[in-house]
Symmetry: C3
Subunit: 217 residues, 3 copies
């Protein structure tokens, strides 16, 4: 429970930072930034808790969840221009949120008795949900669907590992954070290395065929 709460709050913080950075990039005002931070930080978890059906979602039942959101907006506001220029912090924060939410989402679902397969699906949904909300609301194509990037596979691997550890009775503070760290490293390495997954159809000509036929009356 403590691990779950810690992973949750840290995940909220990092996703909220990614939301605030997106707000900065689009020159939103400070309130728009707070809202995008809340949406990205809390959105995935609210969906998760609604689906697990545990009553009022954590982030509304327990106001402590608003602390990491406020802290995230403050961090971005206080960061120096030089610091912000150093690296792609949006990618880093998003990868950290992804890593933490895939373990907390999966373990929370298992705690509430969902089937391991459903728990993995929910873990991945929680992990990618916040980022998809962020990109849809900011009117960008979600990273999830960027063919030149690998986004969901690390989350899928992390959720599956979490479920496996849980099944073996070996899921704890140490193994949980090892899984999260691996997901984070995998995601960053995939991005830096430009790794790609195969197309969703067997050939480019098939994609073209769909495109042409679906534009027809």
């Amino acid at each position: 429970m403590t691990l779950s709460l810690a992973a949750d709050l840290l995940g909220v913080y990092f996703f909220a930072v990614s939301g605030s950075l997106m707000a900065a990039r689009r020159e939103f005002d400070i309130i728009g930034s707070l809202f995008l931070a809340s949406l990205v930080g809390l959105g995935g978890g609210v969906v998760r808790d609604l689906i697990i059906n545990v009553g009022v979602p954590n982030s509304f039942a327990n106001p402590v969840y608003l602390a990491p959101v406020a802290l995230a907006a403050l961090s971005v506001y206080a960061a120096s221009t030089q610091f912000l220029r150093q690296t792609n912090w949006l990618l880093v924060a998003d990868a950290a949120g992804l890593a933490l939410f895939c373990i907390s989402g999966t373990s929370r679902a298992l705690q509430h008795g969902l089937h391991p397969i459903s728990a993995v699906l929910l873990g991945v949904t929680t992990a990618v949900g916040g980022g998809v909300l962020r990109d849809v609301v900011a009117n960008e194509t979600p990273s999830l669907f960027n063919r030149h990037d690998i986004y969901a596979i690390p989350a899928l691997v992390g959720a599956a590992l979490t479920a496996a550890l849980w099944g073996l009775g070996a899921y704890n503070l140490v193994t949980g954070f090892v899984v999260a760290a691996s997901v984070f490293v995998f995601r960053i390495a995939a991005h830096r290395g430009g790794w790609q997954a195969p197309l969703s159809v067997h050939a480019r000509s098939a994609a073209a065929a769909v495109r042409v036929s679906s534009r027809r009356a």
Copy 2:
């Protein structure tokens, strides 16, 4: 219950196919395709189950719901370029999903004691929900709002017929599939025939007036 489950699983399959085809059209990778297929196939039903308030939504409580999603992604991957070029399969799959979800959504709401009017609204929401999610996430204007096409009226008619049959005690495997088939034929015919519904204001000049005034400070 069996009819409901069969209609549900078939509906998930067809909507998931439409999601995979959209993914192919936009050249998403195989994971993006699986996710869009899940979102379109399962999204409408999750919203429906959350609203009916039956505990954990079907698609998470029962992992069998993932089978049609995986099958759909596989179907699209395996399809030959020639087959994909034959017709607008995205339209066909979407119409089939629409038809099946409007009967399964309406009947499920009635089963749980909702008022027939609310059940019709929920049936239409379930039926159009997946497609709207697909189009919003893929950054296209939802077909629902395409003035040169008729999308929601078939679902509305199907949901109303389902509620009427239910009220008369005549809703069963046969009548259910007859309604679904009619919705499908209606939707395809409306698209092929280029049928249009009237504008939402009484004249084009009114639309222009709204446009001008709402752009003013």
Copy 3:
């Protein structure tokens, strides 16, 4: 309870009008208009009720909620071109919905025993939710994120005032509508006056730094 229901139904009406006007502006057909009206009018409340966890959301449990939606679509359809040209009715209707939903959302959350901080958050979510859904589905950037406009601050002030009045035992028909009226006036004045909130980073150069670094691999 009566105040809550009245504020809710009025809020649904005004948000539904804003949805219908958006539909008119984009030349959607009459069904698209009804759907956008439903989504904007009922969307925020459905999310609120799912989060408060009160069973079937009001708008589905009680078909009376569909009346203001139908009335709204009818009002817009029946309005003369001259009337529509008079002022920015979309802004006015949206501000009225915002004002009413921030008091009804907050008070409903307090009624169900949420912590005042969570109740304020939920009130703001309910108030801005419908408008964000409207803009996202119609493929526009949500007003919430428009830096040249103040949108969420009035809702935040209204929700905080509602929670304060509730805590003091002074929340009733009169004070509730005074708060709603203040929120409405605040929102319109902020828009007309072109008031702006500060940027979400401390300097424009910081925003540029985020933009550059987050486009890098």
